[in-house]
């Protein structure tokens, strides 16, 4: 191993995973390691702006800005209506097509990934994804798994099924959901296993697409939202992190004509931002509330013609710094955003539309750190009431203050960085 071990991060092509890895990489750098990033096309420069070297997977020869824009247009037209369906109904409409796309990506990048890993020759690979890439298993160095989705991604009989949005006590619904999930994903799972076989990896049991690392697995699951597992995960290989919040530039509040009132941050991820119809309905509600709203509209800022005096729209926010200043976060249940809100002791209003957002919405409501709103049937009155009630819920705020204190004392980024280096040095990783 080099004196400054080179750690290659390979986050999936989503902001949550990418920025979660940035937080850990920042800490690894402080500890003397050299983090580098393997980037999906489109993320070029995102990690370099934080000072990390990037290695790029090439774009597919058939993809151009034009064709990707068409793809997204089709995706939006097809899936925005599905976002209002319940998790069971999303299995056919959203989950299965998404798994197909994920497997396609894994197959497509395999050779290029192997080539990049041979070029980098890292001391370890950190994979923050939902699927295994055989090139990583064959890279000749330890690999570490980060579960930056909800804890439900690693199954257990006492934990609700992944993406189901169910509570642990809903045993009957859980059984039905799990059965439906396996049925729906069976074909794509067989295809993935056949790809693994060709690459010399053993098959995975259905419905798993990613095995646990034999060395170290880091779960982004603060203690307040953790489940009591029937079979506890072995402490020598599994570490739960109290959030994973990166250092960001300080966010300076823009000037708003309305300059007082509590501050509410609204972000549904770059995917959620494509539903401009829902966002406009929400902004109409915000206008009548005595509060200031920062709304992340992603790529869609051109779609908004009239912005109220108490609302500021942005296409990008240094989220940890914004949430630190906020009194409420309205979000989609993305695990990174949820954990950032917990880290800063800010309550969440969760309107999930897909994937583990459903799981986090259920969990936020159950452990009383936020509220779950069904995105399909809210009204102006119900949303207004939920915002005002959450802003004035002192019991929730007091609980969150304790949660935040604990998370800030045990920073997940520092803990993850130490564990990664410990695993490389062959030390025990037990907490």
């Amino acid at each position: 191993m080099r004196p400054s071990p080179e750690i290659a991060f390979f986050p999936e092509a989503s902001f949550g995973a990418a920025l979660n890895c940035v937080g850990i990489a920042q800490e690894l750098q402080k500890l003397g390691a050299t983090p580098v990033f393997i980037c999906h096309p489109g993320f070029t420069g995102v990690f370099a702006e934080y000072g990390f070297k990037e290695f790029h997977l090439p774009e597919s020869p058939s993809s151009s800005d034009e064709s990707i824009a068409d793809y997204w247009q089709d995706f939006t037209n097809t899936h925005v209506p599905h976002f209002n369906l319940d998790p069971l109904a999303q299995l056919d409409t959203y989950v299965e097509p998404t798994w197909k796309a994920i497997v396609d990506t894994a197959i497509a990048v395999e050779d290029d990934l192997a080539r990049l890993l041979a070029q980098i020759r890292p001391d370890a690979v950190v994979l923050d994804n939902v699927i295994m890439f055989p090139a990583i298993a064959r890279a000749g160095c330890p690999w570490i798994r980060i579960v930056s989705c909800a804890e439900t991604e690693i199954p257990d009989p006492a934990v609700p099924p992944y993406l189901s949005g169910l509570a642990p006590e809903n045993k009957a619904e859980a059984a039905a959901y799990s059965e439906a999930y396996e049925t729906v994903t069976a074909a794509v799972h067989r295809r993935y296993n056949s790809f693994r076989k060709k690459q010399g990896l053993p098959p995975l049991p259905a419905p798993l697409f990613l095995e646990n690392s034999p060395v170290l697995n880091l779960l982004l699951a603060p203690s307040v939202v953790r489940y009591e597992r029937k079979t506890p995960l072995p402490e020598d290989r599994f570490v739960f992190l109290e959030g994973c919040v990166r250092h960001e530039s300080h966010f300076e509040m823009p000037r708003l004509p309305v300059s007082d009132g509590p501050l509410v941050y609204v972000g549904f991820g770059s995917l959620g931002a494509v539903d401009t119809g829902m966002m406009k309905r929400m902004i109409d509600v915000f206008e009548g509330i005595q509060a200031r709203f920062l709304v992340n509209v992603g790529a869609m800022s051109e779609a908004y013609e009239r912005v109220p005096d108490n609302v500021h729209l942005g296409s990008w926010f240094p989220q940890p710094s914004v949430i630190e200043q906020a009194d409420l976060v309205i979000h989609h249940g993305g695990n990174n955003t949820f954990c950032e809100a917990l880290f800063h002791g800010v309550p969440s209003l969760v309107l999930p539309y897909c994937w583990d957002g459903h799981d986090n919405a259920q969990r936020a409501e159950t452990v009383e750190v936020g509220r779950h709103i069904n995105r399909a049937n809210w009204t102006a009155d119900s949303l207004r009431s939920a915002i005002i009630e959450t802003l004035t819920d002192t019991a929730m705020r007091q609980k969150l203050k304790k949660v935040s204190g604990k998370m800030q004392q045990n920073r997940g980024t520092e803990q993850a960085a130490r564990k990664i280096l410990g695993a490389l040095n062959g030390n025990s990783i037990a907490p």
């Binding site: 000072g51 824009a69 396609d104 939902v130 770059s270 995917l271």
Partner: protein
């Protein structure tokens, strides 16, 4: 001829903003001393106007006067200081600034009448017309036949930010390469001090607002030193437009520092009259600043590089 009282006060307000920006860059905190001479050097003016600006800041409880000792910062944090700088900016061009800011935020439409603006800002017609005149002089609005006023395109979306950088890559390079480019060495020297002070700020202490102020001042200097009058005019108007936009997302600290080092390298080349090199460095600097995040990303899907088509 003596300057009218209002104009003098305006100059003091501008200088007061500059003093606070320097204090911010130097990381001064509550209770820290502001020596007249060092602020006179940093702001490039004599001690008399510095003293007047200090008095103005004292009137607003931003500085504290102690007999025989001088002026001391009375604000608690860097955030308070930057908020105060903004408040001073607002006082400077209140209605014009509000109009421009509201348009950039899409609170008001692209075509406005003076009456509608009078109602929105509860201001007399003369005040609104004066504000429109200020904006018109900067090329930010133009009067249409009749009573309506139309705004120029604003830097208010990711695509507009990208087009702004495309425009600058072409024009700023030409501004440097145009014959008779003459660097204003005094302003360049002051800017260099501010850039060094920014870079000397301890890790975690720099602010995007501090960067933005120096960045706009530096690129405006490059434009104003150009030998080509049309490039000069277009670029300075464009930098005023940048100043009005609140949509340009802050970069991580690493990139802010890297970009500041690039500014210094460009200044070095300009001072050595290596204009070809400076022009190339400007292009590299702007291309690096042009890196944009994917507009949308989701697992299994190629990230969307550009916003949706109009």
């Amino acid at each position: 001829m003596p300057e009218p009282r209002k104009k003098v006060r305006q100059n003091h307000l501008t200088l007061a903003q500059k003093i606070l920006s320097v204090a911010l860059d130097q990381g001064l905190r509550k209770g820290d001393h502001l020596p007249e001479q060092s602020f006179s050097d940093a702001c490039g003016v004599s001690r008399t106007p510095i003293r007047s600006a200090f008095r103005l800041l004292e009137e607003r409880d931003i500085l504290e006067w102690r007999a025989d000792e001088g002026y001391f910062l009375a604000l608690d944090s860097a955030e308070d200081v930057s908020m105060t700088i903004r408040a001073l900016e607002d006082a400077e061009h209140s209605i014009a600034h509000q109009i421009l800011s509201d348009r950039a935020e899409r609170r008001i439409g692209a075509v406005q009448s003076a009456s509608a603006l009078m109602r929105r800002y509860k201001a007399p017609r003369t005040a609104v017309l004066n504000a429109l005149k200020i904006l018109s002089n900067d090329g930010l609005v133009r009067q249409l036949p009749g009573r309506a006023w139309a705004f120029q395109p604003m830097i208010d979306s990711p695509d507009a930010i990208e087009e702004s950088l495309d425009f600058r890559i072409t024009m700023e390079r030409q501004a440097v390469l145009a014959p008779d480019f003459v660097l204003d060495s005094q302003r360049a020297g002051l800017l260099r001090e501010q850039m060094n002070s920014f870079l000397n700020t301890p890790q975690g202490g720099v602010t995007p607002a501090g960067f933005r102020r120096i960045d706009i001042e530096f690129h405006t200097l490059v434009a104003e030193c150009s030998g080509n009058r049309f490039l000069r005019g277009s670029l300075t108007a464009h930098h005023r437009l940048r100043q009005a936009s609140q949509k340009i997302a802050p970069s991580p600290e690493f990139r802010l520092r890297q970009a500041m080092i690039e500014h210094l390298e460009i200044l070095d080349s300009l001072e050595r009259k290596q204009f070809e090199l400076a022009a190339d460095q400007l292009v590299v600097h702007l291309r690096r600043s042009r890196i944009r995040k994917p507009q949308a990303a989701n697992r299994g899907i190629p990230p969307l590089a550009k916003g949706p088509r109009p």
